[in-house]
Amino acid sequence: MPALATPGDVERFELANGLEVCWVRNRQAPIVTTVLVYRVGARDELPAESGAAHFLEHMMFKGAALYGPGEIDRRTQSLGGSNNAFTSHDLTAYYFSFSADRWPEALAIERDRMIALALDADEVDSERQVILEELAMYRDEPWDALELDVQAALFAGHPYARPVLGDEASLAGIDRAALAAFHRRFYGPANALLVVAGDLGAEARSRVESAFGDLPAATAARPVVAAPAALVEARRLERRHGEISRLLWALPAPPAEHPDHAPLRLLTTILGGGRTSRLHRAFVDVGQLCLQASCSLAEAELAAHVACSMELLPGTEAAEVEARLDAELAALRDLAVGDEELERSKQILVADWVFQQERIHQQAITAALALAQGDLEQPERVVARALECDAGELLRVARRYLDPDRGSVRGLSLPEEA
């Protein structure tokens, strides 16, 4: 098996104002990706300001002192680069990819919008409409809508239950002043980390110091949010949409630093990793009940969950699929995984890791997400630990976490009733 190490030479340092910096030096292509992460996401919002973190992410492209409205995209384009951003419950991340001789522009842009965001009131109003359309788009997409409902039920009472985009009512209440306050509170060097990956020259460090070194730390401490309470009941929800049945089961799982997380990663590979996986065989290629069946381990900073999803063939009864899924999970709790299946799943896990690290952009994002959780080596450690698991450990972990009756959300999107 190939080495699991992150590609490239990694180096970390911290500026006096608290900005964490990480290099991933890798000359596989003349490309550099920067990722600036702010440790703020939907979990840090008050219920009334639900959607503010994501709203602010949009506004970060709408003008600051040096780069006016639209200028970030225009400048990125003229340099042949690309940019984007995303917001989760735990963080907000902004990234640029440029050819290796042009990447420092990303630092100038990030500095500008960190310290001098404009937040023009008309732009705020216009962007609110854009986000309302984004909400409508997700509501119409059957899997997105089901996922939002399941997430709300899985983490009921916890900030993870709130939609990252907010809702119509909360968005109506988020104005320029609210966004400015949010920006002041969270968007400073002490609450940020920067990953720069790719074909970096020796001058990279001085460029970062010159872009951010003179900024004051200036951010308040992030509010402490407790981990979600363990779900100890089986919840079931149904929604109606379209003509096809879709099923999404979520079972609570421990976060990445927990010793049981890695075995669960291997168990989700056994359940849903490829055509030979148990769910694919039971529901697709052999059982022929579903168009697709998958299983993954969805990770957030404070919690994780196992997600099994199935799209049913027309004419298949949801109850039959539910019963079979129950049986598949029971089989994992009752019988040890055989040697051949275990080895194949480990091989898939290793190869997935290698494939996921192929692009510099992916390397930068992986490093940034890991660092945001305070542990750069965590992703490869989880894979390495999964490779050490034996059948006995998998049996123990399956019994603890893969029992829907001990805590789960069964979400179904069923055809519209005639």
């Binding site: 292509a29 003229s78 799209e311 027309p314």
Partner: protein, 419 residues
């Protein structure tokens, strides 16, 4: 058989692509190319589908077979140490597939279910109707799956026959990644010579058919009701040029100006999203889907039903301005610089190289040659782009498809061509 090899540095991966020059554009029965491609991993003279999957996944490899509009074939991504296995699998699947009837029936059921699944997604339904409006009766105007009726009447003999024919219409093998070049070339020489000329099921290949031309006078306006609850979807455009057309690069640059550039720089997202706040998704391309057949100008907006007319009007305004006003020099240079700057990103990984080399051979264009590409971009002028835009975009003759949420049917139904 065309063979393209490239050793690249980076992750320890080898990517193998094997394309047969027969896709849905030349199939005689809708869905035939898709299922012929998918059947390649369903059984060979040596192994059944379960063993094929187990052998690949037991090595961590991703083995995919597919059928597209222009070709069907195989994609294998494996760890570098398995380069020889990957080549052996490619040869076996290409030349020894048995096209089992029971697997064909299952794949046909799956494909029919895919059509049902897509029908639940309003943007896809509207996009499909737009493609039909632009291309029908050309196969680009229908789903790769065909339809439920055509899938029900396909059998494995037809799929095998199609594969056998396509093998002789043209075969391309591309291999990229971390591998010993001489050994790879030698193994290819052992596995492939002459095999495109013979097979287990002899069928005269004949000439590659010519697909039917799109209708000369398609319906200019289509409205349909979707299963959406909230959003309406708008497509507006026209057919443009194929990948090999002399205007392609000029229109590619025009596409950046309209919407395929960085972030929201294009004129369509600028107007629809940034200036008027009408949509989250507002995109535009002038050569969408261009390949052996014509691509298309495709402007898309997902918006509230109440603002659909405003969005359509704004897109039309922008297209009128686009064809009637000179392109400002700064905007033009930014678009060109964008395409130049994106080049390293198109060639970063083994998988990208393998894909690029395969389509380069399929289109008989030097798409895998960075120098040629840069020269082509540097040679384009704003005047050439303006002329190409005027040739291919006529704001008076745009085709429009609008998908409206069924929940609003009573308040939105109007007199135009509705189905």
């Amino acid at each position: 058989m065309k063979v393209r090899l490239r050793r690249s540095e980076g992750a320890p991966i080898v990517a193998v692509r094997l394309l047969f020059s027969g896709g849905a554009r030349v199939e005689s029965h809708p869905g035939q190319a898709l299922l012929a491609g998918r059947l390649l991993t369903e059984g060979t003279l040596r192994r059944g589908w379960e063993q094929i999957a187990a052998d690949a996944e037991g090595r961590g490899a991703i083995l995919t077979s597919f059928g597209g509009y222009e070709a069907h074939g195989l994609a294998i991504d494996a760890l570098a140490a398995d380069w020889e296995r990957a080549l052996d699998w490619a040869a076996e699947l290409a030349f020894e597939s048995t096209f089992p009837e029971d697997r064909l029936r299952w794949l046909a059921r799956q494909a029919a279910a895919e059509l049902e699944s897509q029908a639940d997604q309003a943007d896809l339904v509207t996009a499909r109707a737009f493609a039909e409006q632009l291309y029908a009766p050309h196969p680009r105007g229908r789903a790769l799956q065909g339809d439920a009726a055509s899938l029900a009447t396909l059998d494995s003999a037809r799929c095998r026959e199609f594969h056998e024919s396509a093998r002789r219409w043209g075969l391309t093998l591309s291999v990229a990644g971390v591998f010993p070049e001489e050994a790879v070339a030698q193994r290819i020489g052992e596995l492939f010579p002459g095999r495109s000329e013979s097979g287990i099921f002899e069928t005269p290949a004949g000439e590659m058919p010519t697909p039917p031309a799109p209708a000369a006078a398609p319906s200019p306006r289509v409205e349909l009701f979707t299963r959406a609850e909230d959003q309406a979807h708008l497509f507006l455009g026209a057919r443009t040029v194929s990948r090999g057309h002399p205007d392609y690069t000029a229109l590619e640059l025009a596409a950046v100006l309209l919407g395929t550039g960085s972030g929201l720089t294009g004129r369509i997202p600028q107007r629809i999203r940034e200036r008027e706040g009408l949509a989250y998704a507002a995109t535009a391309d002038t050569v969408a889907g261009a390949g052996l057949d014509e691509g298309r100008l495709s402007c898309y907006v997902g918006t509230a039903p109440e603002t659909l007319d405003q969005a359509e009007s704004a897109v039309r305004d922008e297209l009128v301005r686009f064809v009637s006003e000179p392109i400002p020099a700064e905007e033009f240079e930014s678009a060109r610089s964008y395409l130049v700057g994106r080049e390293p990103f198109r060639r970063e990984t083994a998988r990208q190289w393998a894909d690029l080399m395969a389509v380069s051979a399929l289109y008989e264009l030097p798409l895998d040659d960075p120098a040629e590409r840069l020269e082509s971009l540097e040679g384009i002028t704003a005047e050439a782009v303006e002329a190409a835009v005027r040739r291919w975009i006529d704001p008076e003759r745009l085709l429009v498809t609008r998908g409206l949420p069924t929940s609003r049917a009573s308040s939105l139904r109007r007199g135009s061509a509705t189905r």
